[in-house]
């Protein structure tokens, strides 16, 4: 994950507190999304960025999860995310991210 982004997200989490913050990812590659989720919960696995060894434990979701989709107006979701949601298995994304949150929570 981009080092500058890590620094800015760390500052936001420090300033606002993790309870009022939620992260939404958009990676189509689930492996990449998992690494980003790990970085924002238990710290940068590459130990290269500002989040190395920093456990922000932010709640991380993926825009393709059906639970998020249900909160977004259908026309907006279709226009912005529709094509990607057709080529990615959204149920698999949901299951992966539920597991990630369960694994890294608390």
């Amino acid at each position: 994950m981009d080092l500058e982004s890590q620094a800015q997200i760390k500052k936001i989490a420090d300033d606002l507190g993790k309870d009022s913050v939620m992260v939404i990812l958009g990676a189509s590659d689930i492996e990449g999304a998992e690494i980003a989720a790990e970085t924002l919960t238990v710290g940068d696995p590459s130990f290269a960025g500002p989040l190395a060894g920093v456990s922000l434990r932010l709640p991380v979701y993926h825009i393709l999860e059906p639970d998020l989709k249900s909160e977004i107006p259908d026309d907006v979701y279709e226009q912005q995310v529709g094509i990607v949601s057709m080529i990615v298995d959204t149920e698999e994304v949901a299951n992966k991210f539920k597991a990630i949150r369960a694994q890294f929570d608390g």
Partner: protein, 41 residues
């Protein structure tokens, strides 16, 4: 889940980019505090 929350958006160039997620978040009533579009290639 989204409404009223401070949302950090990490989009991806080859997946769903930041601005597309931002449009969804705004429509759902979330407050965007950070947005980026990464490239993992």
């Amino acid at each position: 889940m989204i409404k009223g929350k401070n949302i950090i958006i990490v989009g991806e160039r080859d997946g769903v980019p930041g601005p597309a997620i931002a449009a969804c978040v705004m429509a759902a009533g979330g407050n965007i505090v950070f947005m980026t579009t990464e490239c993992f290639v």
